[in-house]
């Protein structure tokens, strides 16, 4: 049987998956931001143009996607603080795994709290 290397800070386990999630969430937010600066720029075209496009933010499909965006920003931001702590705090590497699960928990709790409120608005009248 091949020997499976144990996880390190970077390979396998929490270190690697937090990095993968950080990367994917960063790219996702980046592309959202490109679109978002353009849709906001429509306020300089006319009130009508802006309102028509921003209405799409209130449709069910985009409304659901916004939950993903909020989750991505929460995870990326909080995990960013974790990365900074690993770099600058002397106990950072010791607690990196604990900090990862704190990041996940806070993200999940915050999204769970936001979801009913947001969906009531998106699906309500």
């Amino acid at each position: 049987m091949a020997i499976k290397p144990a996880g390190t800070l970077y390979r396998g386990k929490v270190g690697m998956w937090s990095w993968v999630l950080h990367r994917i969430s960063g790219v996702g937010i980046f592309f959202f931001l490109l679109v978002h600066v353009l849709d906001t720029a429509l306020v300089r075209v006319s009130p009508e143009a802006y309102n028509i496009v921003i209405e799409s933010y209130k449709t069910p499909v985009v409304g659901l996607a916004e939950l993903g965006l909020v989750g991505a920003i929460l995870f990326h931001g909080l995990n960013g603080l974790r990365v900074i702590a690993i770099d600058f705090w002397s106990k950072g590497t010791k607690y990196q795994s604990v900090m990862f699960w704190v990041v996940i928990t806070v993200t999940v709790v915050a999204v769970a709290g936001f979801t009913p409120m947001h969906l009531a608005r998106v699906f309500g009248h």
Binding site: G26, V27, T40, A41, Y50, N51, I73, I84
Partner: protein, 147 residues
Amino acid sequence: MMSVTIETPNRPRTRKQANWEKYGWLFMRVSGPLLIVLIFTHLVVNLVLGDGIKAIDFAFVAGKWADPFWQVWDLAMLWLALIHGTNGMRTIVNDYAGQVKVRRALTTTLWAVCALLILLGTLVIFTFDPCPAGASAELLASFCPAQ
């Protein structure tokens, strides 16, 4: 144990140029915490408070940007998020683009898009007219004279 004598020992590496890669690394770590405050507040104000997403329209934006506080807020968020995001994308391009030509093309494109959007977004904030003449009154904020 025999000691090894090096005839012409290397001097420690010295640099003539600024270490841009290090400044980029630092910038990610300085802009990050600032972006947490800027973006999390942006999301609470626009998605959680009041009627959240349902309340957003031209008049909502007019209400915010009539206040210099939110103009400066959004300006900081625009610049920091775009530079942070673009520099992060550059890191990813460096990781995956094998050929020098491809890497250069992608990196140049990224910074060009970044500069264009910063310019556009900045102009939008400072040339914004909350009460444009000739617009129908029901689309405008309550403080507009047309109301």
